[in-house]
């Protein structure tokens, strides 16, 4: 079907503002393929079913809406953790703020360097997992990213590096509009912990493609920046080999618009995929978790745990799907999405989906949205706990389950302290 004219125009307008970075033949092929796919799919619009609950217009429009950087005197996230730091400032690699990229058991390059090589392993992944993830649901903003990403990191993990790799996204300019694309290959039996934090830009588009080979493991913890006005669309495409582990946790506090898509495919037997997120929003806040996990192998487990705390008219969205293909027996799939609405103005829109073609599987899903429990509130107040503190205690209790999804106790404590300070600051 030909693309509607209005979509054609919107896309042409958007593409006209972008420059395709130059690179080796394989990279240009991947970028040109992305543009060709985009010409068919068009950019997302309000009428697209997949964007029913989130208006994509500010993510699609030609120029990013300006966003003031958030000044804070709090210590940066993950500051206490020994890690290899890679810094992008408004989407531009900052060599002086970054560590030396060499570490035992891992090869790290900038995307902008890797795409210059005539022969590079990243050819097998760049835009490939993104393209695989377009079926059955199109994700055109990820395709746009493949076509025009200016930089990113390309990481091959061959062993067990001694410390996490930490991507730090600083935001200094009010009008910055960043497009980054990372490719990660975790080789057989290798393990990586990836940390990401920061707002990155006024508008941030990021794609992360992660290929985890058999017996490999990938841990990912992300804290999206607190800037109130920032906007972000992120995609994480993961492919899991047999006996591999993929665990991802995201904390989102503030941000006027966030769409986080996670697309995982369990392609080898006995893989484990866990994705979790805590989102805290006050007022002008729209946060959308869109997750699609495909089970295409025997004996895999997947788990989705998402919690949102919303107040003063904030909006939370959850679209989560588990697809179990016909051969994927002994699948164990779990999904829960919950929102705590601290007032009557906020809303939570959830669309949990299961689609199962195998007959020997366990899949469950649940979604709840509610206010603070009156009885618990009265119980606390009757003991002398003031209403505001009681509300904080109960909010923390609501989030406790999702924090438990983080394996590393030091990182979990760090994330917990961010929740605390958000509650104390109230925004």
């Amino acid at each position: 079907m030909a693309l509607a004219k209005i979509k054609q125009d919107a896309m042409q307008e958007r593409l006209a503002t972008l420059n395709m970075p130059k690179g080796a033949a394989w990279a240009m092929a991947a970028r040109n393929d992305a543009v060709a796919r985009l010409a068919k799919a068009g950019l997302p619009g309000r009428r697209d079913e997949y964007w029913k609950y989130t208006d994509p217009s500010s993510l699609v429009q030609t120029v990013a809406v300006p966003a003031a950087p958030f000044a804070t005197d709090e210590s940066p996230v993950f500051g206490q953790i020994d890690r290899l730091k890679i810094v992008f400032r408004d989407g531009v690699f900052d060599a002086s703020a970054s560590d030396d990229l060499s570490m035992e058991g891992i090869e790290i390059e900038r995307l902008s360097d890797a795409v210059q090589m005539d022969i590079h392993w990243a050819k097998e992944l760049y835009g490939v997992l993104e393209k695989n993830g377009q079926d059955p649901v199109a994700r055109p903003l990820a395709t746009l990213n493949t076509g025009f990403a200016t930089d990113g990191v390309v990481i091959r993990v061959t062993g067990r590096p001694s410390k996490p790799v930490s991507l730090i996204y600083l935001h200094n300019q009010e009008t910055s509009d960043a497009i980054l694309h990372h490719v990660i290959r975790v080789e057989k039996g290798a393990a990586l912990t990836l940390l990401e934090n920061g707002p990155a830009a006024a508008r941030f588009s990021k794609v992360l493609e992660v290929d985890v080979a058999e017996h490999g493991s990938f841990h990912h913890i992300r804290a999206q920046g607190r800037d109130h006005e920032r906007r972000a669309v992120t995609h994480m495409f993961g492919r899991l080999g047999s006996d591999s582990l993929f665990k991802s946790f995201t904390l989102t506090a503030n941000g006027v618009m966030t769409r986080n898509e996670v697309v995982l495919e369990l392609t080898g037997d006995n893989g484990v995929a866990n994705v979790a997120g805590a989102a805290l929003g006050d007022g002008e806040f729209h946060h959308d978790d869109t997750v699609f996990i495909t089970h295409d192998a025997v004996g895999c487990k997947s788990r989705q745990v998402f919690k949102k705390v919303l107040r003063n008219g904030a909006t939370g969205v959850f679209q989560g799907k588990i697809l179990v293909k016909s051969g994927a027996q002994k699948t164990d799939g779990y999904q829960i999405s919950q929102a705590l609405l601290l007032d009557g103005d906020s809303q939570f829109l959830a669309k949990p989906e299961l689609e199962i073609y195998a007959d020997d599987v366990i899949c469950s899903h649940g979604s709840t949205s509610g206010e603070i429990d009156d009885d618990a509130m009265f119980y606390l107040r009757s003991r002398g706990v003031p209403e505001g503190i009681a509300q904080d205690l109960l909010t923390r209790a609501f989030l406790a389950e999702v924090i438990e999804e983080i394996d590393d106790p030091v990182i979990a404590d760090d994330i917990q302290s961010r929740l605390e300070s958000w509650l104390q600051r109230r925004g």
């Binding site: 618990a376 009265f378 107040r381 009757s382 003991r383 002398g384 209403e387 209790a397 989030l399």
Partner: protein, 251 residues
Amino acid sequence: MLEIKDLHVKLADEDKQILKGVNLTVGQGQVHAIMGPNGSGKSTMSYVLSGKPGYEVTAGSALMDGSDLLGMAPEDRAAAGLFLAFQYPVEIPGVGNMTFLRTAVNSQRKKRGEAELSAAEFLKEIREKAKALKIDADMLKRPVNVGFSGGEKKRNEILQMAMLEPKMCVLDETDSGLDVDAMKLVAEGVNGLRDGKRSFLVITHYQRLLDHIQPDVVHIMADGRIVKSGGAELALEVENNGYADILKEVA
């Protein structure tokens, strides 16, 4: 200590009058018991005193040490020295019992302008008091009342009372759901807090608890009013003859 006058209360969102003119005065250091049939308004009175939403006071007053309880927020009533031991203590998943109690103790101290307890001071005190109530370290660490047996929940109420050191304790059917041993333990906890200054209002269905917690005055409540008051012997009369005779007598 506690002075309730002509208290009339209805449900906030229903046209149903529950208390129809309660008069009750509990002096300092006294233990008063309220007995009465189901639906007489005993629990409602405890909720109204502690400030639970959902009730509307249509007339009357309740003063504690001369200050108007009914105009205060629940947390302010607590800081002023009122404590309600719940008939059904609420389970709060995700909030540790210890965190909860320390927050409560220090919130009250702060409100009263007293120094907050340090973690070490708090720990020392709660360990001593928990031990007396046979509450183990595990119960202190677990989320508030989650997975507690009926007896454990009631003991946890008494522990909170012991930690918060209120002036006026209201015990709402603290004996319900307890076996004899647990009841004794709870009663010992309460008796340990009787210091001649602290006052108690013990709401119960059965005389049995009053064997262990000796009341100074017993009130019989029926249909939203105190219909008869007397000494400890009144509780025995209820035990032997039920409420029917008394209600007939006052009708």
